[in-house]
Symmetry: C2
């Protein structure tokens, strides 16, 4: 059954009213992005130099004008690199190139470089996209005196338009000349697209051989339902660690950080997380692994939450905790069903303690659930239990809680010990405004 | 890692600006629902009487004031009933009661009745919800002189609040007195919640024994990603057909109609589709089955598309066709990934021919796909092929096409013969306005 059979005429009066309403809505929504109300109050954190790491950024005019849009990170000889990339079947040419280079595991003695542009994702650009990656990595290898196999590139921005890679190549001289240990703020800004603030994080770990630093930056802020990590994340450390140990740590931590956030359930074609360890600081011995993993995990979760805090249009940060599930996998299904539900997300935007929509999301999740064993809490407030509203719950208490900028909703399924936590943001008019004319 | 670790302070200036913007947006969005611009131009169709069927409706004040909100359909002795209900694990008390009665397959000689209220879904209401269904069905059985096993009820509206079932019981006398063959428009209006127009459809089938009629009505219009059918659908026919034949037809047709639409990817706790066949008209012999199934399928698809046309905030109807997939199941995965993508739906709202978001959705769908074999069409316009934009495609042609109210996007995966079609609507400011304060 197809549409020709359907009545096609429009209600002319309704159309006119609709056009008027759209115009009014456009007028009411400022075109200049505000800084997210959930942005960290202190601004971009002060990130210390990492021995063996230099950063640089430049305004190359890829798409944006008058702002840095290409970032270069150079890692000294001896640095190991690990990474995780999107599992999207339509992933971009630079993602495929990074995957091949990570799998090949080239000799770290040469050093390495990460070269990233914003404004164009070089995704779905066919053979020409592959040629762009080849041209950029070859030019960067020559400019930095590195093997081409150690040049990792990422591109973020619009899909399906040819990357003007010559602008990146032309900028390589300026980028190389600008390399400096303190280049963090410019590098973090250069990778932004619809982000409203740059995202950085730092932790230290006390190892037997001394203190090491883990610091990095990330970008969001739409098309965020990572199937590995968020769109682009770069983390660096001076720790000395074997590549396989770093890679396996990264896989574990990614599931609890970047793979546990969602802005809009849409998965990017460009998701890339790269970690470079220069090895100039203390060694991560077996006894130190837990301490180092904790620091790396803290930086990853901090950056992941900053991505949610800058989710397109976000005004509320929602932590979705699920406990008592039959398995961790079931808990994750329920948590993602809640976090991705447009009805839950609009209720949060409206500060409406509409717990019925949580019940709906549990029901559609596909996880094992028994309606009459469910309980739901908003913060510490018991909202529902045993399949119905809790006797002491009041709508006033729920409504007061929902006014907070940061919310925790806990759903206990009452079945077993499976648990999962996922973070998301609300769904607001601004998300619509941003995405109904991002490209045009 | 939990939130206490995160910086909690807010950017005071950003908050103030946000509050001002929200106020402006609220002012720009009328509180009174318009009729959807996609509503059929002719209004509610003229539905003929069905021999053996009487309909009635009444304003019982369940939640709404001054409009009908309870509907009664009485089917004469000899009528068979088939139905499909939601698979949500948190489905409502009336859904569970319908399931039990459909499974028990009681004697049709007594006749049957469908009794439906809007304004309260009687979902997640614990033991009290079950008591409400018991009380209503017992009272209706007495009032209509039917066995309680032949009273099928549905409830739609807010979740988690006790159903004021005594108001339904008090209205039974008025409902019974008002039963009449021509009660279609009132019945269709009585089941509406956020719907902006009542939805009806009719077809006839020429059987060997004569012409039979299939007519029915449905409601939407949010929480629509049916896991069986949409929220509430009632279809009637005078055909004489065995219950098992009707039930198996219904399962087949549901997959191609109500299970192929999505407004917001959220699945209701109340989804119920009931079909009553009075058997007063011609018999559906084996030779007639295809003709009857075609008529029933046409009514179901017509109603399903009307639900999408009245999706909350909808201004565009999008038909998502997927061909060339490795299997039908893979085609469906891709079609649903496209149809449920907030980024695709906002692009449609913004009349933006942003085919990169289609590529993204293919990539995240989980279906087998090869980026370099993909092709995408907007209507008859070839937009992308072989992993990149088509040589003759122009942005102007795409933008002109997107201005239509009804759009067809075809994605060919170039792999096999799997195909699927799904219908959805755009995601607009009005969806946010409706759902950010539906309850409060």
């Amino acid at each position: 059954m197809s549409m020709p059979k359907m009545r096609r005429d429009m209600n002319a009066i309704a159309r006119e009213r609709l056009a008027a309403r759209r115009a009014a809505e456009r007028a009411a929504t400022p075109a200049v992005p505000l800084v997210s109300p959930l942005a960290p109050a202190g601004g971009f954190p002060s990130l210390p130099p990492i021995a063996g790491l230099d950063l640089s950024s430049v305004a190359a005019g890829i798409k944006y004008r008058g702002r840095p849009d290409v970032m270069l990170a150079r890692l000294a000889p001896g640095s190991v690199v690990a990474g995780v990339t999107t599992r999207s079947t339509t992933r971009s040419a630079p993602v495929l190139d990074c995957e091949a280079k990570l799998a090949a595991g080239a000799d770290p003695e040469a050093g390495a470089a990460f070269l990233v542009n914003a404004g164009n994702s070089n995704a779905f650009t066919g053979g020409r996209g592959v040629e762009s990656v080849e041209a950029v990595t070859a030019a960067a290898a020559a400019a930095l005196d590195l093997p081409q196999s150690r040049i990792f590139t990422s591109s973020t921005g619009v899909i399906g338009q040819p990357l003007p890679h010559e602008r990146i190549i032309d900028a390589l001289g300026t980028l190389a000349a600008g390399l400096a240990p303190g280049g963090w703020p410019g590098a973090a800004r250069a990778i932004m697209t619809t982000d409203t603030f740059p995202k950085g994080a730092v932790e230290t770990a006390e190892l037997a051989g001394g203190t090491v630093t883990v610091a990095g930056f990330a970008k969001g802020s739409g098309m965020i339902a990572p199937d590995m990590g968020t769109m682009l994340v770069y983390i660096f450390t001076d720790a000395k660690i074997a590549q396989p140990a770093l890679a396996s740590m990264l896989r574990r931590l990614t599931d609890r950080s970047f793979n546990s956030i969602t802005v809009d359930s849409d998965t990017s074609t460009s998701d890339t997380l790269l970690v470079g360890a220069t090895g100039r600081g203390a060694e991560v011995t077996q006894a130190d692994e837990a301490a180092f993993e904790a620091a790396l995990g803290a930086v990853m979760t901090d950056l992941a939450l900053q991505v949610v805090r800058d989710g397109e249009g976000a005004t509320k940060l929602l932590e979705v905790r699920v406990t008592g599930a039959d398995s961790d996998a079931d808990a994750r299904k329920v948590a993602l069903a809640i976090a991705n539900s447009p009805l839950v997300k609009t209720a949060v935007a409206g500060e409406d303690p509409n717990w019925g929509r949580i019940v709906m999301a549990v029901g559609k999740s596909g996880a094992k659930a028994d309606r009459d064993l469910l309980s739901i809490r908003f913060g510490d407030i018991l909202v529902a239990e045993k399949g119905w509203v809790a006797p002491d719950y009041t709508e006033e208490a729920g409504a007061a809680y929902m006014k907070q900028a940061e919310l925790v909703v806990t759903t206990d399924l009452g079945l077993g010990n499976g648990a999962s936590t996922v973070w998301t943001c609300d769904l607001t008019h601004r998300y619509i405004s941003i995405n109904a004319d991002y490209r045009s």
